[in-house]
Symmetry: C2
Subunit: 455 residues, 2 copies
């Protein structure tokens, strides 16, 4: 008698799968079987032993299948300010545009709405997991939960009052609440989010490191983003931002340094020695005129470097595809060496590298049995993707967001044939337009005094 | 009795129109009336005096309308090699990949097919006019003519034999044939295309300047693209490429220098003094590790700088949108000044500046009465475009190709709601796939000897 066929929740049948595993990179005619949100089996279709049953099936013949992207750094809510104050420097942009806007408009509802808007864009560009640093982080977390994506969430902590935390001493209580609220959630993972060396005290960094250790979670912070930050910190402490953080004893493998643009040779060695993960945000750093993270040098020293979009107000796109595409080209240009950050390395940064840095390498970032079923289906049949000599090159150098056809996260169909299934796109966009009219936000910033707001 | 209403071929009704005219930048609820390929009237809908009739109407309420993009430098046919030999330096890439491939596969049919493929991608990303440098240029011209776009066409001339010109002395005859063939064509404009200082003799440049003057057309050439080129030219002539060209007496307002990456202070002054137009190709220069054209410096010296994609094999996208988006960010980064290349300036480069440099400023590049009706319609209703505080910022920093919904060139509907009307997309893509199988092109380059081909 035949063995009873195993039943799966979802079968993804056909297509060329780039697993991004080092030793099993590619499946030419793939079968992916999903159960309880995880990959139960994957391999060449013809190699499946026996028979299977699937409660539903996604036909992907002729498509490319890759892991869903991971966006290792963003601020979900401020997509509402996209396009305001462009072409300003970081400190002007923060002080004259973003912070006054947040002071005026940042409410829990606004955070939820802005987060929903960002999540729509992220889904349409293939992001399955994101790390968010925001005010009212629990409201962003609710939006992420509603979207079906995986989120690392951190309440943005400053040493001064913020829109969501009037007394800075409450910061860790807010984070503790997140930790408690989401400790059993399969997709939402809290972390400790510190804004930056120029806005946070040494005591705050030290307490963050201790608390994070006790909770078993990561600490993420903007570090060495601009020349101005480096000058401020050197003025205060006679140390670079990285040296200062190291002198505080807070740099370790659970510390994630976001940006890391302006680094001395010693800074780079410290980051390597302390096994600090670095998150590169090329578009944001370009657009704000901040500079360029020395990714090839850091990598050659053994530093793990991932990638994120930063916010829709400093990028102004939340597409991880565009981000990895630009990263690949940017470092070729800065080193005058086109072999730097080859296509597969750029793709790895946005997937498997990000997963490692964020502590998710056993969950997501590559496709293998036992991993969460987090994948995107790419349609390579449009003119920009043809001829398909090399799928890695095509994804990294030629693809558009529109080629990302479907996305599955933790086994759940999030987008199918460009239609988002988990969120009401039309309603969210309508609400955003309504908010824009009511708040008269454009008029608000055009009359705003230069140094109006300081955290 | 009422005056008889004027009849137009096409009315574009409603929407916010960015004309890119300096003194009449924006129309909030626009009406554009087109007759014989030209704009017969444009302005606020409510300001139209009396009544009009239109043979057909495009409803664009709620959309953005801007001039169609101009791609000031490309090689249409080699989209067939897209994704081959990525992550190689320019000279390796040319000698080991592109030139051997062209030697083996470059035929008139292949040029036509590759050009059609490129044109599909260009239409989908809003390019209405392009400047092509290619072999068998008349076959590329046929593809452009079939597509309904406007094309500057140049046969790529070398001092050595090429796939299409066995005896280099025939080069100007081929160009003369193009000039004669297209002298009365409304949309196809020949120019003299010289490959580069390291592949063309001084005599060739001088004859090109003379011939072009007699025909009243432009000369375009790659100049100072890589360190290697500069070293070769300095080795041969003890001059930089720009100094050498100037010593030949060929630099003038009708000379267009493509790339212009590696320039000395003296080179920049020469370009300014001779009123040479420069075409920036940021993605290609980044991807090949060539470097970065000093756009802000050139502009401050009064040099007119436009922008192009270069080919789909060194970019690997033909989207002018991506090109202008990257340019805007790249120069902010290189100067650490986010006010450099502001959104409207980046948009101008891809439209009105390119038109000026290519000698088309009375035809295309901005929207005004009497100009050719070359425009794109943008759908700003998707998550990445909302909220629409600032349409310039949104186009330059947030838009996707998919937001480009429709395109009109010389009054003809080229694409409507993402459907290309002038070319058979399905058939072309099928032919490309067939070519790819028959030619075994991927196997071909993987066995190719390093220094196989030299023009």
């Amino acid at each position: 008698m035949d063995q009873k066929p195993e039943t799966f929740d979802l079968a993804v049948v056909g297509g060329r799968c780039l697993t991004l595993q080092a030793d099993f990179p590619e499946i030419s005619d793939s079968l992916i079987l999903i159960k309880n949100g995880q990959i139960g089996w994957l391999g060449e279709k013809k190699d499946f032993p026996g028979r299977y049953r699937a409660n539903s099936t996604l036909q992907t013949s002729g498509k490319l299948i890759i892991p869903a992207f991971i966006n290792a750094h963003t601020h979900l809510s401020i997509s509402l300010y996209r396009g305001l104050g462009t072409d300003l420097k970081l400190h002007d942009w923060l002080r004259r545009v973003i912070w006054p806007l947040e002071k005026e408009f940042c409410t829990p509802d606004h955070v939820y709405l802005g987060s929903c808007l960002s999540l729509l864009e992220m889904i349409k560009s293939g992001t399955g997991t994101l790390a968010n640093m925001d005010f009212y982080a629990s409201h962003g977390a609710k939006a992420i939960d509603d979207s079906g994506l995986r989120g690392l969430i951190g309440e943005a902590l400053f040493s001064t009052p913020t829109p969501s935390i009037k007394d800075p001493r409450d910061g860790f209580n807010v984070t503790a609440d997140l930790v408690n609220q989401y400790k059993n959630h399969p997709l939402i993972h809290p972390y400790v989010a510190l804004h930056a060396p120029f806005t946070c005290s040494g005591e705050l960094y030290q307490e963050a490191a201790e608390q994070a250790k006790s909770w078993g979670i990561k600490v993420c912070s903007h570090v060495a983003e601009t020349v101005s930050e480096v000058e401020q910190i050197q003025g205060r402490y006679h140390l670079t931002p990285v040296e200062w953080l190291d002198s505080l004893g807070v740099l370790n493998p659970d510390f994630v340094a976001i940006h890391a643009v302006h680094l001395t040779g010693n800074d780079k060695e410290i980051l390597a020695k302390r096994h600090v993960g670095v998150i590169h945000n090329p578009h944001s750093n370009m657009m704000l005129g901040s500079g360029i993270c020395p990714v090839p040098e850091l990598t050659s020293l053994g530093v793990e470097v991932g990638i994120g979009t930063d916010s829709a107000s400093s990028n102004n796109s939340l597409s991880m595809l565009f981000e990895l595409q630009t990263a690949a080209k940017l470092h070729k240009m800065s080193t005058l060496d086109p072999s730097v950050l080859a296509a597969h390395q750029a793709l790895n940064m946005a997937t498997i590298k990000n997963a490692g840095i964020l502590g998710l390498s056993k969950i997501t970032g590559h496709l293998a049995k036992g991993m969460s079923a987090d994948l995107i289906v790419i349609d390579p049949s449009t003119a920009n993707m043809i001829p398909l000599h090399d799928p890695y090159a095509q994804i990294v150098y030629s693809m558009d967001n529109r080629n990302i056809e479907s996305m599955i996260v933790a086994g759940r169909m999030i987008m199918e044939k460009r239609k988002i299934l988990t969120m009401d796109e039309e309603l969210i966009l309508k609400e955003v337009k309504k908010w824009m009219k009511v708040s008269s936000v454009y008029d608000f910033i055009s009359i705003k005094d230069a140094a109006a707001t300081e955290y």
